[in-house]
């Protein structure tokens, strides 16, 4: 399972301006990157091909140059590194492990398992388990049940008291809580879905698309399908 939310693509204006710097050909630029507010409320001369939803229109001159630079290779298509993509991705840890291959030009900020693993009760919906057989799903349910038991112990308050006569020392109590926390951290399956806010760019997406388009993991196939919904996706997909 993989989910994409809060997608935003920015930087077109600057990417186009920068793309034309080497040949000082700014006067040939024929795109409109004013944004959807301008497009819908102020623009009096819409161009054929305007996308009112994104407020982005690449003119034939700019698009032609972009495609030529794109096909010329990574050192010529620096403009693609300037088209920045922001998105929230919720995906299983086994997918993030592979996504973490992409480090250059990518920033990811994740929900912390270390700090917040106990924040909510674990449920089956927190895991990517659509391919599990009934038997495997039963095993996962038992793991979830065990995780929730440890969670209940971890979040319990005022539980230093052992019985009517004895109370745990601070040192002893800290060790007790830490050991319980370790049970949750090390028992957590890699099918656990984690949400991260990600910043990447068209260049990184082109690398990902080339490498992961036909991949064993459903999540990568979904990721590539998602890329195909982007404006001017041909810059990424070739």
């Amino acid at each position: 399972m993989i989910r994409f939310e809060n997608l935003e693509i920015v930087g077109w204006k600057h990417a186009i301006r920068g793309m034309r710097n080497p040949m000082n050909s700014w006067e040939k630029s024929d795109s409109c990157t004013q944004g959807c507010v301008w497009c819908n409320e102020f623009c009096g001369k819409p161009l054929p091909g305007c996308d009112k939803e994104s407020g982005l229109y690449l003119g034939p001159n700019d698009l032609d140059l972009m495609k030529r630079l794109r096909n010329a290779g990574t050192d010529h298509r620096k403009f693609m590194r300037m088209i920045t993509v922001y998105v929230d991705i919720t995906a299983p840890l086994y997918w993030w492990k592979e996504m973490d291959t992409y480090q250059v030009g990518v920033v990811k900020n994740s929900c912390s398992t270390m700090h917040k693993i106990q924040a909510k009760e674990f449920t089956l919906e927190d895991f990517s388990c659509e391919h599990l057989t009934e038997q495997s799903r039963n095993v996962l349910n038992k793991i979830i049940e065990t995780l929730n038991m440890y969670r209940a112990l971890y979040i319990a308050k005022d539980d230093k008291k052992v019985d009517m006569y004895s109370v745990m020392s601070d040192e002893c109590y800290a060790k007790y809580k830490k050991d319980i926390w370790w049970q949750m951290i090390q028992l957590l399956p890699s099918s656990y879905n984690q949400r991260r806010t990600v910043m990447l760019n068209y260049e990184v997406l082109a690398n990902i698309y080339k490498a992961r388009n036909i991949h064993k993991l459903d999540e990568w196939v979904e990721f590539c399908k998602w890329i195909e919904t982007f404006p001017y996706k041909e810059l990424i997909t070739g």
């Binding site: 039963n138 038992k142 049940e145 065990t146 929730n148 038991m149 440890y150 209940a152 112990l153 319990a156 539980d159 230093k160 008291k161 052992v162 019985d163 004895s166 109370v167 745990m168 020392s169 002893c172 109590y173 060790k175 007790y176 050991d179 319980i180 049970q183």
Partner: protein
Amino acid sequence: QFKAVNDKQLGVCLRMLYAEGIQPIVNVVMNDKGKIEFNISIEKDQQTAEELKKRYEILIS
């Protein structure tokens, strides 16, 4: 030496052992009815284990 069938019993048992400075060995198993149980053992002499077991039985009763 100890069996806990829910998080309350597990907490009682672990707190008792930690308070005594004993590191428990926790084994998670599934019973005949498919429910999770925790079997907890300690590396102590039999007399100490028996005393703690009695104390645990009182605490969870």
